[in-house]
Assembly symmetry: C2
Homo-oligomer: 514 residues x 2
């Protein structure tokens, strides 16, 4: 067994059996080892930022990591921006990065670089494997590190001679750490806060936003007067009629402050307190009112679900029902394209079990609230704010859940960063309907320019916010990568295109000019 085979054996044994990759010469022995392990799913990506975001989407849905196989420092470098997003969302990913044979490094050939230096900013666990006899164990430790609560990025650098060396052996199966419960006195203190009757928000993140955790939160909201909120930076939230009624804190600071102004207590469950993304010369960063007390029920690395369930037992037993969304599906709107109309159309047509991937930026902020009363679905956002996540995140979600349709909402500007994901959708036949909200601009910057005191932007600034010269033709881009596309001109044709996409197999793209 060579090192590469030991590596793959350890990954499989650690339940890390799906690989998103763009390999190169230094990874050829790992590719050869994959050749002999058909049970490992391998998804080729034409750009490494697609691979890491796909691994992110996969892990959010599967609640276990996928691995990436990347080529040297430059391949890892291309993947970093979406590792930023995953690291901010505490999403587990195992990166396997090829390296030159150790003895080759002294020659300082063109592709030599400081791989560990490139990996360090976004890797909570980082190691270069030293030998073929250790690489299996290293991979196991990487998986364990990635699954250490709340979930993190682990990067293992594998030199070519470690991969081809013949002294590999299988690592023992890993033991995954579990998150620990919050301390009993913490839970009691939070319960006491809920009993005061002060206006209180529970700000939920991590496992508090789906499954048992979210169900417990709904019951707590029903039994107390607490309001359930999610942060704007969203990893995954389970939604639809019958699931907990959760409002998202708005992105725009003024709107967030308005939404939060009446709360006097905020309880954090796996979440960070609401803050403005950016500083401004004249505005506040902290979005809660000064008189709001902020306490933590569970830190991100603690057991949010267990903490909520324990909290529930300390509340007075009441007759109140869980606070869940009522069923409310709007009728299909018609006529001219408007942002509220698009949101209503999505809500009208969203199929049960759909996974919505949302990077619709300024144009799609009505989407999430509009769909709250539809059938059950999951909603994935961008927890790190590095734009260019939606299309590849949809790839990973679709690979993780092949029987569920994926609706990918992307702005045009953000979509271009990792547009290569469309090709992987076509290659894998993934059921992803990508909606491009094409406003031909980096709209968020127009607003921020003024917000930061720039005043009215001049010709040069406007030019830098404008991506409409020339207009991107998304139907052509999709065709170029093998994805059938259509451009819609009304809510009626948007609705038909959505319905067609959900009814068909494989990927589709819908361009919505705004």
């Amino acid at each position: 067994m060579n090192g590469a085979e030991a590596l793959i054996a350890a990954l499989v044994s650690g339940e890390c059996d799906t690989c998103f990759t763009n390999p190169g010469t230094s990874e050829m022995h790992i590719v050869a080892a994959l050749d002999r392990r058909p049970e490992v799913g391998c998804v080729l990506c034409l750009f490494e930022g697609v691979a890491t975001a796909a691994a992110d989407g996969y892990a959010r849905m599967k609640r276990k990591p996928a691995w990436t196989l990347l080529h040297l420092g430059p391949g890892l470098a291309n993947s970093l921006a979406n590792l930023h997003n995953a690291s901010r969302g505490h999403v587990p990913i195992v990166n396997i990065v090829g390296q030159h044979a150790i003895d080759h490094l002294k020659h300082d050939t063109p592709l030599v670089s400081d791989i560990e230096g490139i990996a360090r900013p976004y890797s909570r666990w980082l190691r270069t494997s030293r030998s073929d006899s250790e690489v299996g164990r290293d991979a196991t430790e990487a998986i364990v590190a990635s699954r250490t609560p709340p979930g993190q990025i682990a990067t293992l650098v594998v030199p070519a001679d470690v991969a081809w060396g013949e002294s590999g052996f299988p690592a023992p199966p890993p033991v995954f750490p579990s998150p620990r419960l919050p301390a009993p006195e913490t839970i009691e203190r939070i319960a006491a806060m809920l009993r005061t009757g002060a206006r209180t928000a529970l700000l939920l993140s991590g496992s508090a936003l789906y499954g048992r955790g979210l169900a417990a939160a709904a019951r707590i909201a029903g039994a107390s007067r607490a309001k359930l909120l999610s942060p704007y930076p969203l990893v995954r939230i389970e939604r639809g009629a019958g699931t907990a009624c959760v409002d998202r804190v708005p992105y725009v600071p003024e709107q967030a402050m308005e939404a939060l102004k009446d709360f006097r207590q905020m309880i954090l469950v796996g979440a960070a307190a609401p803050l403005a993304y950016f500083a401004s010369p004249s505005k506040k960063t902290v979005l809660t009112p000064p008189e709001c007390t902020i306490e933590t029920l569970a830190k991100p690395e603690e057991d949010c679900t267990g903490g909520l369930e324990a909290l529930e037992t300390l509340l007075p037993p009441g007759k109140s029902k869980p606070l869940v969304e009522p069923s409310a599906r709007p009728p299909m709107p018609r006529g001219e394209i408007t942002l509220p109309g698009l949101a209503a159309a999505v809500a009208a047509l969203l199929p049960d079990g759909c996974i919505v991937v949302d990077e619709s930026m300024t144009t799609g902020r009505a989407m999430l609230p509009a769909a709250r009363g539809t059938g059950p679905h999951d909603w994935l956002g961008n927890p790190g704010g590095s734009i260019g996540i939606a299309l590849p995140l949809a790839v990973g979600a679709a690979v993780a859940c092949p029987s569920r349709p994926v609706l990918c909402l992307s702005a045009d500007g953000s979509g271009m960063y990792t547009v290569q994901a469309l090709w992987t959708m076509a290659r894998e036949g993934l059921h992803v309907i990508t909606v491009i909200l094409a406003n031909r601009a980096y709209s968020v910057l127009k607003r921020e320019f003024d917000n930061l005191g720039g005043g009215k932007p001049g010709a040069r600034a406007l030019d830098l916010f404008d991506i409409g010269r020339p207009d991107l033709d998304w139907v052509a881009l999709a065709k170029g990568m093998g994805v059938p596309g259509t451009r819609v001109t009304s809510l009626d044709s948007f609705g038909r295109a959505l319905q067609d996409g959900f009814a068909a197999e494989g990927p589709r793209l819908i361009e919505v000019p705004l």
Copy 2:
């Protein structure tokens, strides 16, 4: 004057007046300052890897740096792979990276990251500006650092409050360092080597490959029996009839060893000794024969041109002429598409003054030799081996030299990494003819798999080398970004498309299915 205005003033004063950018919220005050300085050229890119490669292409042609304006850690991260290539080519680039206001960092909001950590692996000079009164001087030092021989990458991180602070003032104009001449005894030792009559190669790089340096090398080759070579990793070489006769060391190690086997002396002029890019379990890394003595006339950071001119004066005055390429333009080939036919067609039609950007990988290796006897032109390669440089490098070369046509030769696999460059070509109306050599594969990996002992690739490995399922439709991709494109089916139609492209204004794309 605020910090952002002081920054721009320093950049202009330092002759660093062209900006390739994809800005974000944290850079808004710099954008506002640009609004008031129309003399700074600003080129918007839809992805940051386009911006850095464009800055690279600009600097190679202008022999002075452009600057990039990038958004926080993720924007910088997206730019890194092409910074790898530029750093390997000793190409000067000044990166200006926005940062949150210093006081905001403690909040650890979603877009906070370790920007210096991300920058360090590829920045030889790196600083975070501490105040609005220092940022102008910091920018000047960054430019000086980038222009320190042999040319390097300088990264200045500018916090938003440094940009908006009102205590900026203009920095004094910079003094740029010059490369120093090689030591006289070194030059004498090399002259003595040339006089021995042993079979000798001069391996040229840096300024030895164009202008006065290359002309001196041609005279030295004429006056001695020395052969002129360039490394495979190529930054810029001046070529065509009447310029020095230089052979490039082949990429494939076996071919390189064959080409080098008769040399007993090798003189490095700004170049590193020829080495295999990758180690192999069974093959050598050093490509020169063991009996070849390798000596250095000039290190990359020394004055290669001055060193060659000084060397020339020590050689016996002879009647021999400079060793230059004879004029030899092949006739336009016809019929079926073949790789030699494509190379001959390029050579037949290459216009005088053309800039050729070459990342044609396995399919284009006949291009460079075929064009040696055409009119004068420059040839730019990929000195770092991180694929995905050609299209944006062509953008930068075209911005630097608006009166010269640019022929961009790209493989399909490498072209997809930074495909967003096509949009910038359309937006700026750049006269770039992009030829996509579409073999639907990562062909280099098929060869390397076997070369490294992988044997015959199985179904899984072949799948990972195959980018033809589905085929990329490059004409549609180009249309999607506003570039007129055509697919050719014969050498005749390829020739017509090339001629049309050179005759027209603005960008074109030609897909060549192989």
